[in-house]
Symmetry: C2
Subunit: 306 residues, 2 copies
Protein backbone atom coordinates (compact mmCIF):
# COMPACT_ATOMS: atom_id res chain seq x y z
CA UNK A 1 0.00 0.00 0.00
CA UNK A 2 1.25 3.45 -0.86
CA UNK A 3 -0.01 6.97 -1.19
CA UNK A 4 -0.08 8.42 -4.69
CA UNK A 5 -0.66 12.05 -5.53
CA UNK A 6 -1.18 13.08 -9.16
CA UNK A 7 -0.85 16.77 -9.93
CA UNK A 8 -3.53 17.83 -12.43
CA UNK A 9 -2.76 21.53 -12.20
CA UNK A 10 -0.66 23.77 -9.98
CA UNK A 11 -0.92 27.33 -11.28
CA UNK A 12 -2.88 30.17 -9.78
CA UNK A 13 -5.51 32.38 -11.32
CA UNK A 14 -5.67 32.19 -15.11
CA UNK A 15 -5.57 28.97 -17.12
CA UNK A 16 -3.55 29.04 -20.34
CA UNK A 17 -2.47 26.45 -22.88
CA UNK A 18 0.40 25.43 -20.62
CA UNK A 19 -0.71 26.31 -17.09
CA UNK A 20 -3.57 24.65 -15.32
CA UNK A 21 -5.31 25.79 -12.16
CA UNK A 22 -5.37 23.79 -8.93
CA UNK A 23 -6.48 20.16 -9.00
CA UNK A 24 -5.00 16.96 -7.60
CA UNK A 25 -5.99 13.32 -7.56
CA UNK A 26 -5.04 11.46 -4.39
CA UNK A 27 -5.02 7.70 -4.04
CA UNK A 28 -4.80 6.82 -0.37
CA UNK A 29 -5.61 3.24 0.68
CA UNK A 30 -7.22 2.77 -2.75
CA UNK A 31 -9.62 5.65 -2.12
CA UNK A 32 -9.54 8.17 -4.98
CA UNK A 33 -10.06 11.72 -3.82
CA UNK A 34 -10.19 14.75 -6.11
CA UNK A 35 -8.84 17.86 -4.42
CA UNK A 36 -9.92 21.16 -5.95
CA UNK A 37 -11.24 21.43 -9.48
CA UNK A 38 -10.22 24.46 -11.55
CA UNK A 39 -11.49 24.92 -15.11
CA UNK A 40 -10.29 22.12 -17.39
CA UNK A 41 -9.78 19.57 -14.60
CA UNK A 42 -11.88 16.95 -16.38
CA UNK A 43 -9.55 17.13 -19.37
CA UNK A 44 -6.53 16.81 -17.06
CA UNK A 45 -8.15 13.75 -15.46
CA UNK A 46 -8.50 12.23 -18.93
CA UNK A 47 -4.87 12.99 -19.72
CA UNK A 48 -3.89 11.31 -16.44
CA UNK A 49 -5.97 8.29 -17.54
CA UNK A 50 -7.93 8.48 -14.30
CA UNK A 51 -11.04 6.37 -13.96
CA UNK A 52 -13.75 8.95 -13.34
CA UNK A 53 -16.11 6.56 -11.63
CA UNK A 54 -13.59 5.68 -8.94
CA UNK A 55 -13.91 9.21 -7.59
CA UNK A 56 -16.59 9.26 -4.91
CA UNK A 57 -15.36 12.21 -2.88
CA UNK A 58 -14.32 15.68 -4.01
CA UNK A 59 -12.75 18.15 -1.60
CA UNK A 60 -12.92 21.85 -2.53
CA UNK A 61 -10.75 24.23 -0.53
CA UNK A 62 -12.56 27.47 -1.35
CA UNK A 63 -14.83 29.16 -3.84
CA UNK A 64 -12.30 31.00 -5.95
CA UNK A 65 -12.65 30.21 -9.63
CA UNK A 66 -9.21 28.65 -10.08
CA UNK A 67 -10.22 26.01 -7.53
CA UNK A 68 -13.83 25.33 -8.50
CA UNK A 69 -14.80 26.46 -12.02
CA UNK A 70 -14.23 22.97 -13.43
CA UNK A 71 -16.55 21.22 -10.98
CA UNK A 72 -19.91 21.64 -12.70
CA UNK A 73 -18.43 20.49 -16.02
CA UNK A 74 -17.02 17.39 -14.35
CA UNK A 75 -20.39 16.62 -12.75
CA UNK A 76 -22.07 17.09 -16.13
CA UNK A 77 -19.61 14.67 -17.72
CA UNK A 78 -20.10 12.08 -14.95
CA UNK A 79 -23.80 12.26 -15.73
CA UNK A 80 -23.20 11.77 -19.47
CA UNK A 81 -21.00 8.79 -18.60
CA UNK A 82 -24.03 7.24 -16.89
CA UNK A 83 -22.84 7.42 -13.29
CA UNK A 84 -25.37 6.23 -10.76
CA UNK A 85 -23.40 6.03 -7.50
CA UNK A 86 -23.63 9.03 -5.17
CA UNK A 87 -20.93 11.71 -5.29
CA UNK A 88 -19.86 13.43 -2.08
CA UNK A 89 -18.70 17.02 -2.37
CA UNK A 90 -16.98 18.54 0.63
CA UNK A 91 -16.39 22.26 0.55
CA UNK A 92 -17.20 25.65 1.98
CA UNK A 93 -20.71 26.83 2.72
CA UNK A 94 -22.21 28.02 -0.55
CA UNK A 95 -20.91 25.21 -2.72
CA UNK A 96 -24.32 23.53 -2.91
CA UNK A 97 -25.93 26.72 -4.21
CA UNK A 98 -22.98 27.22 -6.56
CA UNK A 99 -23.45 23.84 -8.20
CA UNK A 100 -27.21 23.37 -7.91
CA UNK A 101 -28.01 26.77 -9.45
CA UNK A 102 -26.01 25.78 -12.51
CA UNK A 103 -27.56 22.32 -12.73
CA UNK A 104 -31.05 23.81 -12.41
CA UNK A 105 -30.51 26.48 -15.06
CA UNK A 106 -28.92 24.02 -17.48
CA UNK A 107 -31.92 21.73 -16.84
CA UNK A 108 -29.62 18.88 -15.88
CA UNK A 109 -31.43 15.92 -14.40
CA UNK A 110 -28.56 14.41 -12.54
CA UNK A 111 -28.54 10.63 -12.84
CA UNK A 112 -26.80 10.26 -9.45
CA UNK A 113 -27.17 11.79 -6.03
CA UNK A 114 -24.86 14.61 -5.01
CA UNK A 115 -24.31 14.79 -1.27
CA UNK A 116 -22.96 18.15 -0.17
CA UNK A 117 -20.96 18.43 3.03
CA UNK A 118 -20.68 22.17 3.64
CA UNK A 119 -18.05 23.45 6.05
CA UNK A 120 -18.25 26.75 7.87
CA UNK A 121 -16.33 26.26 11.12
CA UNK A 122 -13.04 27.78 12.18
CA UNK A 123 -11.70 24.64 13.86
CA UNK A 124 -10.31 21.47 12.31
CA UNK A 125 -13.08 18.88 12.09
CA UNK A 126 -13.48 15.35 10.79
CA UNK A 127 -14.84 15.79 7.27
CA UNK A 128 -14.93 12.18 6.06
CA UNK A 129 -14.09 8.73 7.27
CA UNK A 130 -14.51 5.13 6.30
CA UNK A 131 -12.82 1.96 7.52
CA UNK A 132 -9.45 2.85 5.99
CA UNK A 133 -9.14 6.63 5.84
CA UNK A 134 -10.07 9.77 7.72
CA UNK A 135 -10.03 13.32 6.41
CA UNK A 136 -9.86 16.45 8.55
CA UNK A 137 -10.26 20.09 7.59
CA UNK A 138 -7.33 22.48 8.03
CA UNK A 139 -8.70 26.00 8.55
CA UNK A 140 -6.59 28.40 6.48
CA UNK A 141 -6.29 32.16 6.22
CA UNK A 142 -7.16 33.48 2.77
CA UNK A 143 -9.29 36.33 1.38
CA UNK A 144 -12.32 34.03 1.41
CA UNK A 145 -13.31 31.19 3.74
CA UNK A 146 -10.85 28.37 2.98
CA UNK A 147 -9.92 24.95 4.31
CA UNK A 148 -7.02 22.69 3.50
CA UNK A 149 -7.47 18.96 4.07
CA UNK A 150 -5.52 16.35 6.02
CA UNK A 151 -5.86 12.84 4.58
CA UNK A 152 -4.75 10.07 6.91
CA UNK A 153 -4.82 6.32 6.75
CA UNK A 154 -6.29 4.82 9.88
CA UNK A 155 -3.78 3.03 12.06
CA UNK A 156 -2.94 -0.22 10.47
CA UNK A 157 -3.18 -3.62 12.14
CA UNK A 158 -0.15 -5.13 13.83
CA UNK A 159 1.60 -8.12 12.27
CA UNK A 160 1.49 -11.48 14.04
CA UNK A 161 4.81 -12.78 15.44
CA UNK A 162 4.12 -16.43 14.66
CA UNK A 163 7.30 -17.71 16.33
CA UNK A 164 6.19 -16.13 19.60
CA UNK A 165 2.53 -17.16 19.26
CA UNK A 166 3.42 -20.84 18.67
CA UNK A 167 4.97 -20.94 22.14
CA UNK A 168 1.43 -20.55 23.58
CA UNK A 169 -0.62 -23.52 22.32
CA UNK A 170 -3.82 -22.16 23.87
CA UNK A 171 -3.80 -19.15 21.50
CA UNK A 172 -6.16 -20.13 18.68
CA UNK A 173 -6.71 -18.74 15.19
CA UNK A 174 -9.87 -17.01 16.37
CA UNK A 175 -7.71 -14.93 18.73
CA UNK A 176 -5.53 -13.56 15.93
CA UNK A 177 -7.78 -10.61 15.01
CA UNK A 178 -7.69 -9.32 18.60
CA UNK A 179 -3.90 -9.55 18.55
CA UNK A 180 -3.71 -7.69 15.22
CA UNK A 181 -5.93 -5.02 16.77
CA UNK A 182 -3.37 -4.57 19.55
CA UNK A 183 -5.03 -6.36 22.44
CA UNK A 184 -3.03 -8.19 25.07
CA UNK A 185 -3.73 -11.92 25.48
CA UNK A 186 -5.17 -13.21 28.74
CA UNK A 187 -4.24 -16.81 29.51
CA UNK A 188 -6.76 -19.18 31.09
CA UNK A 189 -4.81 -18.89 34.36
CA UNK A 190 -5.18 -15.08 34.23
CA UNK A 191 -1.62 -14.34 33.13
CA UNK A 192 -1.47 -11.39 30.75
CA UNK A 193 0.86 -11.57 27.76
CA UNK A 194 1.70 -8.15 26.36
CA UNK A 195 0.57 -7.65 22.79
CA UNK A 196 4.05 -6.45 21.91
CA UNK A 197 5.42 -9.85 22.81
CA UNK A 198 3.11 -11.51 20.29
CA UNK A 199 3.08 -9.03 17.40
CA UNK A 200 5.28 -6.69 15.44
CA UNK A 201 4.42 -3.12 14.58
CA UNK A 202 2.26 -2.94 11.45
CA UNK A 203 3.10 -0.85 8.39
CA UNK A 204 3.04 2.84 9.12
CA UNK A 205 -0.20 4.72 8.32
CA UNK A 206 0.43 7.35 5.65
CA UNK A 207 -0.80 10.92 5.61
CA UNK A 208 -1.02 13.86 3.22
CA UNK A 209 -1.89 17.51 3.91
CA UNK A 210 -3.15 19.91 1.23
CA UNK A 211 -2.79 23.58 2.20
CA UNK A 212 -3.99 26.06 -0.41
CA UNK A 213 -4.72 28.97 -0.50
CA UNK A 214 -3.39 30.64 2.63
CA UNK A 215 -1.24 33.29 4.18
CA UNK A 216 1.59 32.00 6.36
CA UNK A 217 -0.35 30.42 9.22
CA UNK A 218 1.89 28.63 11.72
CA UNK A 219 -1.03 27.50 13.86
CA UNK A 220 -1.81 24.79 11.30
CA UNK A 221 1.39 23.04 12.39
CA UNK A 222 -0.17 20.95 15.18
CA UNK A 223 -2.74 19.64 12.67
CA UNK A 224 -0.26 18.66 9.97
CA UNK A 225 2.58 17.61 12.29
CA UNK A 226 4.63 14.76 10.86
CA UNK A 227 2.64 14.14 7.68
CA UNK A 228 4.48 12.16 5.06
CA UNK A 229 3.68 14.65 2.32
CA UNK A 230 2.68 18.31 2.47
CA UNK A 231 1.45 20.43 -0.42
CA UNK A 232 1.74 24.04 0.64
CA UNK A 233 1.00 26.93 -1.67
CA UNK A 234 3.88 29.26 -2.47
CA UNK A 235 2.36 31.79 -4.83
CA UNK A 236 5.24 34.26 -4.52
CA UNK A 237 8.94 34.60 -3.74
CA UNK A 238 9.61 36.17 -0.38
CA UNK A 239 10.71 39.42 -2.04
CA UNK A 240 6.99 39.88 -2.83
CA UNK A 241 5.97 39.29 0.79
CA UNK A 242 3.83 42.43 0.89
CA UNK A 243 1.90 41.31 -2.16
CA UNK A 244 1.54 37.82 -0.69
CA UNK A 245 0.14 39.33 2.47
CA UNK A 246 -2.23 41.63 0.58
CA UNK A 247 -3.58 38.83 -1.59
CA UNK A 248 -3.74 36.23 1.19
CA UNK A 249 -0.96 33.98 -0.08
CA UNK A 250 2.32 32.48 1.13
CA UNK A 251 5.86 32.78 -0.10
CA UNK A 252 8.13 29.83 -0.91
CA UNK A 253 10.24 30.63 2.15
CA UNK A 254 7.14 30.49 4.35
CA UNK A 255 6.06 27.16 2.84
CA UNK A 256 9.52 25.84 3.70
CA UNK A 257 9.28 27.12 7.28
CA UNK A 258 5.91 25.44 7.76
CA UNK A 259 7.29 22.15 6.40
CA UNK A 260 10.37 22.33 8.63
CA UNK A 261 8.49 23.24 11.77
CA UNK A 262 5.81 20.60 11.12
CA UNK A 263 8.55 18.01 10.55
CA UNK A 264 6.89 16.65 7.45
CA UNK A 265 8.46 14.00 5.22
CA UNK A 266 8.37 15.88 1.94
CA UNK A 267 7.09 19.26 0.74
CA UNK A 268 5.59 19.99 -2.69
CA UNK A 269 5.22 23.59 -3.69
CA UNK A 270 2.50 24.97 -5.96
CA UNK A 271 -0.10 27.62 -6.85
CA UNK A 272 2.58 29.69 -8.50
CA UNK A 273 1.79 33.16 -9.73
CA UNK A 274 1.88 33.46 -13.51
CA UNK A 275 4.64 36.06 -13.05
CA UNK A 276 7.14 33.24 -12.52
CA UNK A 277 8.48 31.15 -15.36
CA UNK A 278 11.56 29.75 -13.64
CA UNK A 279 10.12 27.81 -10.73
CA UNK A 280 13.59 26.82 -9.52
CA UNK A 281 13.74 30.23 -7.83
CA UNK A 282 10.77 29.23 -5.68
CA UNK A 283 12.25 25.78 -5.08
CA UNK A 284 15.61 27.11 -4.00
CA UNK A 285 14.03 29.59 -1.61
CA UNK A 286 11.97 26.90 0.11
CA UNK A 287 14.91 24.47 0.23
CA UNK A 288 16.88 26.85 2.40
CA UNK A 289 14.26 26.21 5.09
CA UNK A 290 13.42 22.59 4.26
CA UNK A 291 15.68 20.47 2.12
CA UNK A 292 13.26 17.76 1.01
CA UNK A 293 11.19 20.10 -1.13
CA UNK A 294 10.12 19.35 -4.70
CA UNK A 295 8.38 21.16 -7.52
CA UNK A 296 5.11 19.77 -8.85
CA UNK A 297 5.23 18.17 -12.28
CA UNK A 298 2.15 18.48 -14.44
CA UNK A 299 0.42 15.07 -14.60
CA UNK A 300 3.28 13.66 -12.56
CA UNK A 301 2.61 11.30 -9.66
CA UNK A 302 4.41 11.39 -6.33
CA UNK A 303 4.43 8.02 -4.55
CA UNK A 304 5.00 7.70 -0.83
CA UNK A 305 5.68 4.25 0.58
CA UNK A 306 5.37 3.27 4.23
Amino acid sequence: MSLELTILGFNSAVPTAYSHPSAQLLNIAERYFLIDCGEGTQVQLRKAKAKFNRINNIFISHLHGDHVFGLVGLISTLQLLGRDTPLNIHGPKGIEEFIMTQLRLTESNCSFKIVFNELSGKESVLVFEDDKVEVFSIPLNHRIYTNGYLFREKSKQRKLNMDAIEQYPEIEICDYQNLKNGRDYVMEDGTIIDNEDLTFEGPRALSYAYCSDTKYKPNIIPIIKGVDLLYHESTFLHEAKDLANYTGHSTAKEAGIIARDAEVGKLILGHFSNRYHDYSLLLNEAKIEFENTVLPKLLGTIKIKP
Copy 2:
Protein backbone atom coordinates in the same frame (compact mmCIF):
# COMPACT_ATOMS: atom_id res chain seq x y z
CA MET B 1 -13.44 44.43 -45.26
CA SER B 2 -14.17 40.77 -44.80
CA LEU B 3 -15.91 38.47 -42.41
CA GLU B 4 -13.68 36.12 -40.41
CA LEU B 5 -14.90 33.21 -38.34
CA THR B 6 -12.46 31.40 -36.05
CA ILE B 7 -13.56 28.02 -34.77
CA LEU B 8 -12.55 27.62 -31.10
CA GLY B 9 -14.42 24.36 -30.58
CA PHE B 10 -16.95 22.30 -32.50
CA ASN B 11 -17.66 19.15 -30.53
CA SER B 12 -20.73 18.34 -28.53
CA ALA B 13 -21.06 17.33 -24.92
CA VAL B 14 -17.81 16.24 -23.27
CA PRO B 15 -14.50 18.10 -23.63
CA THR B 16 -11.40 15.94 -23.98
CA ALA B 17 -7.75 16.60 -24.74
CA TYR B 18 -8.56 16.79 -28.44
CA SER B 19 -12.20 17.85 -28.66
CA HIS B 20 -13.49 21.20 -27.56
CA PRO B 21 -17.09 22.24 -26.99
CA SER B 22 -18.84 24.98 -28.95
CA ALA B 23 -17.22 28.39 -29.22
CA GLN B 24 -16.51 30.71 -32.15
CA LEU B 25 -14.95 34.12 -32.57
CA LEU B 26 -16.50 36.24 -35.31
CA ASN B 27 -14.93 39.35 -36.75
CA ILE B 28 -17.53 41.22 -38.74
CA ALA B 29 -16.83 44.83 -39.72
CA GLU B 30 -14.05 44.83 -37.09
CA ARG B 31 -16.52 43.92 -34.35
CA TYR B 32 -15.33 40.87 -32.38
CA PHE B 33 -18.18 38.69 -31.22
CA LEU B 34 -17.77 35.54 -29.13
CA ILE B 35 -20.45 32.98 -29.91
CA ASP B 36 -21.02 30.33 -27.25
CA CYS B 37 -18.46 29.54 -24.58
CA GLY B 38 -17.98 25.90 -23.55
CA GLU B 39 -15.49 24.93 -20.85
CA GLY B 40 -11.94 25.81 -21.88
CA THR B 41 -12.91 28.56 -24.35
CA GLN B 42 -10.56 31.07 -22.73
CA VAL B 43 -7.63 28.76 -23.41
CA GLN B 44 -8.78 28.32 -27.02
CA LEU B 45 -8.96 32.12 -27.36
CA ARG B 46 -5.35 32.31 -26.16
CA LYS B 47 -4.29 29.64 -28.63
CA ALA B 48 -6.02 31.64 -31.37
CA LYS B 49 -4.04 34.69 -30.21
CA ALA B 50 -7.27 36.63 -29.82
CA LYS B 51 -7.20 39.97 -28.04
CA PHE B 52 -9.56 39.45 -25.12
CA ASN B 53 -10.34 43.09 -24.64
CA ARG B 54 -11.64 43.48 -28.18
CA ILE B 55 -14.58 41.29 -27.27
CA ASN B 56 -17.44 43.48 -26.10
CA ASN B 57 -20.36 41.22 -26.97
CA ILE B 58 -20.88 37.56 -26.20
CA PHE B 59 -23.80 35.62 -27.66
CA ILE B 60 -24.87 32.44 -25.88
CA SER B 61 -27.27 30.14 -27.72
CA HIS B 62 -28.57 28.16 -24.75
CA LEU B 63 -27.80 27.07 -21.22
CA HIS B 64 -26.36 23.63 -21.86
CA GLY B 65 -22.94 23.16 -20.33
CA ASP B 66 -21.07 22.58 -23.58
CA HIS B 67 -22.13 26.06 -24.68
CA VAL B 68 -21.75 28.03 -21.46
CA PHE B 69 -19.54 26.39 -18.81
CA GLY B 70 -16.51 28.44 -19.90
CA LEU B 71 -18.21 31.81 -19.55
CA VAL B 72 -17.67 32.52 -15.86
CA GLY B 73 -14.00 31.59 -16.15
CA LEU B 74 -13.58 33.96 -19.08
CA ILE B 75 -15.28 36.77 -17.14
CA SER B 76 -13.02 36.06 -14.19
CA THR B 77 -9.96 36.26 -16.43
CA LEU B 78 -11.12 39.53 -18.04
CA GLN B 79 -11.33 40.91 -14.52
CA LEU B 80 -7.81 39.74 -13.67
CA LEU B 81 -6.61 41.33 -16.90
CA GLY B 82 -7.92 44.65 -15.57
CA ARG B 83 -10.81 45.15 -17.99
CA ASP B 84 -12.89 48.23 -17.31
CA THR B 85 -15.12 48.53 -20.38
CA PRO B 86 -18.61 47.05 -20.12
CA LEU B 87 -19.26 43.55 -21.43
CA ASN B 88 -22.59 42.73 -23.07
CA ILE B 89 -23.85 39.19 -22.71
CA HIS B 90 -26.78 38.18 -24.88
CA GLY B 91 -28.41 34.86 -24.07
CA PRO B 92 -31.46 33.04 -22.82
CA LYS B 93 -33.41 34.07 -19.75
CA GLY B 94 -31.56 32.73 -16.74
CA ILE B 95 -28.07 33.60 -17.90
CA GLU B 96 -27.81 36.54 -15.52
CA GLU B 97 -28.64 34.34 -12.53
CA PHE B 98 -26.27 31.68 -13.89
CA ILE B 99 -23.32 34.07 -13.97
CA MET B 100 -24.12 36.39 -11.08
CA THR B 101 -24.68 33.54 -8.61
CA GLN B 102 -21.18 32.29 -9.37
CA LEU B 103 -19.62 35.75 -9.14
CA ARG B 104 -21.39 36.39 -5.83
CA LEU B 105 -20.33 33.08 -4.27
CA THR B 106 -16.75 33.44 -5.47
CA GLU B 107 -16.80 36.96 -3.98
CA SER B 108 -15.71 38.45 -7.30
CA ASN B 109 -15.89 42.21 -7.36
CA CYS B 110 -16.10 42.64 -11.11
CA SER B 111 -13.98 45.55 -12.28
CA PHE B 112 -16.28 46.16 -15.26
CA LYS B 113 -20.00 46.29 -15.82
CA ILE B 114 -21.76 43.25 -17.24
CA VAL B 115 -24.90 44.11 -19.18
CA PHE B 116 -27.18 41.14 -19.64
CA ASN B 117 -29.60 41.02 -22.55
CA GLU B 118 -31.90 38.10 -21.76
CA LEU B 119 -34.00 36.61 -24.53
CA SER B 120 -37.21 34.70 -23.98
CA GLY B 121 -39.29 35.28 -27.11
CA LYS B 122 -40.22 32.82 -29.81
CA GLU B 123 -39.82 35.24 -32.71
CA SER B 124 -36.66 36.57 -34.33
CA VAL B 125 -35.77 39.93 -32.77
CA LEU B 126 -33.02 42.50 -33.12
CA VAL B 127 -30.56 41.60 -30.36
CA PHE B 128 -27.78 44.12 -31.01
CA GLU B 129 -26.91 46.89 -33.41
CA ASP B 130 -24.40 49.65 -33.86
CA ASP B 131 -23.49 51.77 -36.87
CA LYS B 132 -21.93 48.88 -38.77
CA VAL B 133 -23.60 45.66 -37.70
CA GLU B 134 -26.94 44.24 -36.62
CA VAL B 135 -27.58 40.92 -34.91
CA PHE B 136 -30.90 39.09 -34.87
CA SER B 137 -31.97 36.04 -32.89
CA ILE B 138 -32.91 32.84 -34.74
CA PRO B 139 -35.36 30.87 -32.58
CA LEU B 140 -34.36 27.20 -32.70
CA ASN B 141 -35.93 23.95 -31.55
CA HIS B 142 -33.86 22.12 -28.95
CA ARG B 143 -34.56 20.41 -25.63
CA ILE B 144 -34.09 23.74 -23.84
CA TYR B 145 -34.85 27.33 -24.95
CA THR B 146 -32.31 28.11 -27.67
CA ASN B 147 -31.53 30.86 -30.18
CA GLY B 148 -29.13 30.96 -33.06
CA TYR B 149 -27.86 34.36 -34.19
CA LEU B 150 -27.78 36.15 -37.52
CA PHE B 151 -24.91 38.65 -37.84
CA ARG B 152 -25.29 41.12 -40.68
CA GLU B 153 -23.29 44.11 -41.83
CA LYS B 154 -25.48 47.11 -42.39
CA SER B 155 -25.84 48.14 -46.04
CA LYS B 156 -22.63 49.75 -47.05
CA GLN B 157 -22.25 53.21 -48.55
CA ARG B 158 -22.22 53.67 -52.32
CA LYS B 159 -18.94 54.52 -54.06
CA LEU B 160 -18.57 57.94 -55.71
CA ASN B 161 -18.33 57.96 -59.53
CA MET B 162 -15.83 60.84 -59.74
CA ASP B 163 -15.87 60.99 -63.54
CA ALA B 164 -19.61 61.65 -63.47
CA ILE B 165 -19.47 64.03 -60.51
CA GLU B 166 -16.82 66.22 -62.15
CA GLN B 167 -19.26 67.02 -64.91
CA TYR B 168 -21.33 68.97 -62.37
CA PRO B 169 -19.04 71.74 -60.98
CA GLU B 170 -21.69 72.82 -58.44
CA ILE B 171 -21.43 69.48 -56.60
CA GLU B 172 -19.08 70.19 -53.70
CA ILE B 173 -17.12 67.94 -51.37
CA CYS B 174 -19.66 68.59 -48.61
CA ASP B 175 -22.30 66.89 -50.81
CA TYR B 176 -20.36 63.66 -51.12
CA GLN B 177 -21.66 62.04 -47.92
CA ASN B 178 -25.26 62.46 -49.08
CA LEU B 179 -24.35 60.84 -52.37
CA LYS B 180 -22.62 57.94 -50.58
CA ASN B 181 -25.79 57.53 -48.51
CA GLY B 182 -27.81 57.10 -51.74
CA ARG B 183 -29.49 60.48 -52.03
CA ASP B 184 -30.23 62.06 -55.41
CA TYR B 185 -28.64 65.46 -56.11
CA VAL B 186 -30.89 68.50 -56.58
CA MET B 187 -29.32 71.19 -58.81
CA GLU B 188 -29.78 74.88 -58.02
CA ASP B 189 -32.21 75.08 -60.94
CA GLY B 190 -34.27 72.25 -59.42
CA THR B 191 -33.10 69.52 -61.80
CA ILE B 192 -32.77 66.16 -60.06
CA ILE B 193 -29.79 63.96 -60.89
CA ASP B 194 -30.38 60.33 -59.98
CA ASN B 195 -27.94 58.98 -57.36
CA GLU B 196 -27.23 56.03 -59.64
CA ASP B 197 -25.82 58.44 -62.23
CA LEU B 198 -23.31 59.77 -59.67
CA THR B 199 -22.34 56.65 -57.73
CA PHE B 200 -21.57 52.96 -58.07
CA GLU B 201 -23.00 50.22 -55.91
CA GLY B 202 -20.97 49.81 -52.68
CA PRO B 203 -19.36 46.56 -51.56
CA ARG B 204 -21.87 43.88 -50.60
CA ALA B 205 -22.82 43.67 -46.91
CA LEU B 206 -21.77 40.33 -45.46
CA SER B 207 -23.75 38.05 -43.19
CA TYR B 208 -23.26 34.98 -41.02
CA ALA B 209 -25.81 32.72 -39.33
CA TYR B 210 -25.01 30.48 -36.35
CA CYS B 211 -27.57 27.72 -35.81
CA SER B 212 -26.84 25.43 -32.87
CA ASP B 213 -28.36 23.40 -31.22
CA THR B 214 -31.53 22.50 -33.05
CA LYS B 215 -33.70 19.87 -34.60
CA TYR B 216 -34.31 20.26 -38.33
CA LYS B 217 -36.35 23.46 -38.40
CA PRO B 218 -37.10 24.65 -41.94
CA ASN B 219 -38.96 27.74 -40.76
CA ILE B 220 -35.62 29.40 -39.95
CA ILE B 221 -35.01 29.60 -43.72
CA PRO B 222 -36.66 33.01 -44.26
CA ILE B 223 -34.44 34.45 -41.49
CA ILE B 224 -31.14 33.09 -42.82
CA LYS B 225 -31.99 33.35 -46.54
CA GLY B 226 -28.93 34.11 -48.64
CA VAL B 227 -26.37 34.51 -45.85
CA ASP B 228 -22.78 34.27 -47.00
CA LEU B 229 -21.89 31.74 -44.35
CA LEU B 230 -24.02 29.35 -42.32
CA TYR B 231 -22.89 27.25 -39.37
CA HIS B 232 -25.51 24.58 -38.82
CA GLU B 233 -25.15 21.87 -36.26
CA SER B 234 -25.00 18.30 -37.57
CA THR B 235 -24.60 16.21 -34.46
CA PHE B 236 -25.46 12.93 -36.18
CA LEU B 237 -25.51 11.10 -39.49
CA HIS B 238 -28.98 10.66 -40.91
CA GLU B 239 -28.94 6.94 -40.05
CA ALA B 240 -29.27 8.15 -36.42
CA LYS B 241 -32.27 10.36 -37.26
CA ASP B 242 -34.36 8.92 -34.41
CA LEU B 243 -31.63 9.72 -31.90
CA ALA B 244 -31.23 13.21 -33.39
CA ASN B 245 -34.93 13.76 -33.00
CA TYR B 246 -34.98 12.43 -29.45
CA THR B 247 -32.05 14.60 -28.35
CA GLY B 248 -33.16 17.70 -30.26
CA HIS B 249 -30.39 17.70 -32.85
CA SER B 250 -29.98 17.71 -36.64
CA THR B 251 -28.32 15.32 -39.03
CA ALA B 252 -25.71 16.30 -41.61
CA LYS B 253 -28.23 15.66 -44.38
CA GLU B 254 -30.67 18.06 -42.73
CA ALA B 255 -28.00 20.74 -42.33
CA GLY B 256 -27.33 20.39 -46.04
CA ILE B 257 -31.03 20.71 -46.89
CA ILE B 258 -31.32 23.88 -44.80
CA ALA B 259 -28.25 25.38 -46.52
CA ARG B 260 -29.57 24.46 -49.98
CA ASP B 261 -33.08 25.77 -49.38
CA ALA B 262 -31.78 28.97 -47.75
CA GLU B 263 -29.45 29.49 -50.73
CA VAL B 264 -26.49 30.31 -48.50
CA GLY B 265 -22.98 30.91 -49.82
CA LYS B 266 -21.17 28.32 -47.72
CA LEU B 267 -22.10 25.82 -45.01
CA ILE B 268 -19.88 24.79 -42.08
CA LEU B 269 -20.90 21.74 -40.12
CA GLY B 270 -20.24 21.19 -36.43
CA HIS B 271 -21.35 20.05 -32.96
CA PHE B 272 -20.42 16.50 -33.83
CA SER B 273 -21.25 13.69 -31.48
CA ASN B 274 -18.19 12.10 -29.88
CA ARG B 275 -19.29 8.82 -31.54
CA TYR B 276 -17.81 10.03 -34.83
CA HIS B 277 -14.11 10.08 -35.51
CA ASP B 278 -14.21 10.27 -39.30
CA TYR B 279 -16.01 13.54 -39.94
CA SER B 280 -15.81 13.04 -43.70
CA LEU B 281 -18.88 10.82 -43.36
CA LEU B 282 -20.83 13.82 -42.09
CA LEU B 283 -19.33 16.08 -44.76
CA ASN B 284 -20.19 13.73 -47.59
CA GLU B 285 -23.76 13.33 -46.40
CA ALA B 286 -24.30 17.10 -46.29
CA LYS B 287 -22.59 17.63 -49.64
CA ILE B 288 -25.17 15.51 -51.40
CA GLU B 289 -27.68 18.24 -50.50
CA PHE B 290 -25.38 21.26 -50.69
CA GLU B 291 -22.04 21.11 -52.44
CA ASN B 292 -20.28 24.09 -50.85
CA THR B 293 -20.07 22.48 -47.43
CA VAL B 294 -16.91 22.38 -45.31
CA LEU B 295 -15.81 20.82 -42.06
CA PRO B 296 -14.69 23.07 -39.21
CA LYS B 297 -10.98 23.09 -38.45
CA LEU B 298 -9.96 23.62 -34.84
CA LEU B 299 -8.52 27.14 -34.48
CA GLY B 300 -8.93 27.57 -38.24
CA THR B 301 -10.37 30.79 -39.65
CA ILE B 302 -12.82 30.98 -42.53
CA LYS B 303 -12.66 34.29 -44.40
CA ILE B 304 -15.51 35.55 -46.54
CA LYS B 305 -14.84 38.48 -48.85
CA PRO B 306 -17.50 40.68 -50.43
